[in-house]
Symmetry: C2
Subunit: 526 residues, 2 copies
Amino acid sequence: MTQPTYEDLEKHYSKFVSTNSMRKKLVSFWHPDPKYAHLEDDDYLKSKETKEDFIPLSLGLPNSGFFPIKSMDLNIVDHPFDKSSNLHKHNVATVSKETPVEMDLPFVLQYGDTKGLSPMLEFIENFVKSVGNQPLYNEWDTVIANGSNDSLFKIFETLADETTTVLVEEFSFVPVLSAIYGAGAKAVPTKLNIPVVNKDNYEQTSTVPYGKDDEGIDVEYMSNLLDNWSLGPYKHLKKPTLLYTVTTGQNPTGVSTSMEKKKQIIALAKKHDFIIVEDDPYGYLRMPLYNRSNPDENIYKSADFTTKRYLDDIMIKSYLSLDDDGRVLRLETFSKVFAPGLRLSFIAGNKYIIKQIHDYTEVSTRGASSVSQSLVYSTLKTMSKRDKKPMVEAWLDWIIQVATEYTERRNATLKAAYESEAFKKGYFSVIEPSAGMFVDFEINFKSLNGEFSDIEGMNRINKYFVKNGLGVVLAYKMALDVELSKDHCGLIRTAISFADEPKDLIEAVNRLNMSCVEFFEKRLGN
Amino acid sequence: MTQPTYEDLEKHYSKFVSTNSMRKKLVSFWHPDPKYAHLEDDDYLKSKETKEDFIPLSLGLPNSGFFPIKSMDLNIVDHPFDKSSNLHKHNVATVSKETPVEMDLPFVLQYGDTKGLSPMLEFIENFVKSVGNQPLYNEWDTVIANGSNDSLFKIFETLADETTTVLVEEFSFVPVLSAIYGAGAKAVPTKLNIPVVNKDNYEQTSTVPYGKDDEGIDVEYMSNLLDNWSLGPYKHLKKPTLLYTVTTGQNPTGVSTSMEKKKQIIALAKKHDFIIVEDDPYGYLRMPLYNRSNPDENIYKSADFTTKRYLDDIMIKSYLSLDDDGRVLRLETFSKVFAPGLRLSFIAGNKYIIKQIHDYTEVSTRGASSVSQSLVYSTLKTMSKRDKKPMVEAWLDWIIQVATEYTERRNATLKAAYESEAFKKGYFSVIEPSAGMFVDFEINFKSLNGEFSDIEGMNRINKYFVKNGLGVVLAYKMALDVELSKDHCGLIRTAISFADEPKDLIEAVNRLNMSCVEFFEKRLGN
């Protein structure tokens, strides 16, 4: 027998692969090995040159310290239909008496509803209502999916095909393009306002309120683009029927869309009849205004801080809460506030579209892991019992604690950045986030009087980052059209989520500072 | 504001739904509410007429007594980055010291590899090898999916499109058609040999060995169909590039394909260059030959029964084990031997095709729930420690225990059936299974001298089943072409998996008997 090689297999079997599947390939901005996601392929090979204690701020992962459960004990039976109370104790101490009756284990381990297990769905709907995100119309619904990547896939499979154009923020979560292109559709970038804090405006910008109205989607640009579609640069494409937006703590820029801006965008959506796909993984990770005169201030930590205040003053409500005709699809995930390994997310929107997504789910994944659903539900129920509060309240308490920790990290990062030599010399600006997992910096290559382009500059300075042991994402790799985004191709995305402690972030800013000083003051590239 | 109704939403938003998605609708043979899956829509409305203690043998679900864990205790932290050992005790007793180091909780809760968590994948590959299922070539691989429904979806999305024809057993697991049609492909039925035991051949058929060569796909029919494709009834379609087969304990007929027959089918696959999609959810639920002179015999229970004997004499090996050029894709699931709520399955096959499926997974679901993966892995590891055996051995022990219980159930069902008045009078025949979750019966409408068709007969007799409190699946609803399958449209599928105890199955057979006697002896329909 002749052993077929991989190439033999490819040669013979490539004819079996469907055209539909051929275009379903991942579009990513990271390296295949996530540990080296910050590196160019070349650099990857040379990565031994970097420091031992490399800080990978390029990784948009939450630290495991954010996960609400410490361990999971399994009570294992000795044989099928084991009725004895003499259960095997290797991995467990007592049979839990606290399991919610509505979510007991035989129910959890059995086939579950495709839409989601009913107690979990009830919690989710109740939560959407309790935080004030429910739409203004009644015929809305929710469906559970296997993480927001799966939600996005199903949404674009359901709503997009070869004839579809999707508006996407100029910098975006790149893998969404896999879902858009995978469905055969086209993506068109729309501009963002990305206000920066630099040495010159540092004093004037210190009192910007939460949810700054100017940051996020550039409504004027988008409005002009749509009004003049048939004359514009994308006139060969159909007018967009979908807008994809990461609403709060946008990935990668960190900007958040205010309610005022959401109203304007809803109005545009009605005028031009498109659907808003609101991806909001970081929506609950809101941070109070950074207080420059007291960088350690974190109002979440004040004794009289309440969930009411969080909901009324700090959280930005969903586009859904402004939606009276069903044109918003909201995506939430448990990855950021619970844990990514769950693969658990949901979509809320109008019943008709949710039914289409549900139908698609029925023939593909069916329900998300019931084990994951039960893990979340049981944790919330336990928190509720422990704290003697309704589940929604107990869960909000946890969310606020997570947001508190993110605020600490953001504060430590900003403080170090503003105090740095490189900031004071104008080598970089700061995009001050009010939500999410990212603090972005913009390297001011302009000060080099056009010696080279932002992109060339980024590729040069990144070598300094790597040498100094700092991993970041070069935001231009997340731009749909670097020409359109050339004013902001000096952006870098740093994730404040993965580090073990805020002091690691301070060290990271030190390395950013050192890299900028070295780069700007030698200005030799290498 | 005017509230949009569901119809308004449908009217406005249907134009957004992609043509690709429009054809992704579930094809099923059950009622939307699984509790009433056995009923026609009409009957559903009248279902209050049936008995209180209705036995739903129509449900192909495992009883929760088959699940290997009894409870799951969560150790919940009080706040993010809680380092205290003073963990919250509501739902847990001690921090587990037995968690496998290669699968600790921070790892499990984090984003995981799309292919599967590496310890789980290693176990799976080791298991495939240990049971003797590995292919004859080296370039094979595995990928984890979210249950076999998801595996099937991804396989047909990847390998089928509008130009594809798929061969499917004449009676089949109907939802697979959703995946085939969803990809735009066509399904063509191929005949099965379904040997029955009836009052006339009862004596002669008592010594048929395990894996009867004659049951399963009718190789001669398939061979003729393919050899004469351009002259046959499907000449308007392209020649098939895929065969979908449920290999062991076929759903719905319960038949199993012998190794001898697998060799013939592999030869056909080579001759006509098609891929074999081997769906084998029941592969490990093999039952030793039913001993008519001693129906209680269950050799699994003999003291000297070994896993070696199970592997050598009882389990039927995969098509993979005969595959030397990469044309077999094997689907396994943890739903039947562990629990369906996990949504955990895997596909094994040639590296090139597995990579295509992996790429598709990358842009859709990404990895299956890591929590589910860890639940299985940790359970197996605990079994291994408890029993002081390698994980594969410990897991095989569990599998054999599950198969033992299925054998008990099969034996009880067959014994009651063969002893029944209706069998002895020739009103029904038995398809004696050697694997899986189903015992099928064939109602002998032929004895009524063509008074009505099998299908009409089935619809009439089903009213007796319902009246007597028995739920079954009418197999003709799982036929691709009732005309082609008209000789076997009297088949009914009963699942022996969902009942709590074998005695429930004996009662179910009593009801089957009573229904047949009433029907045949009154012969009035209703």
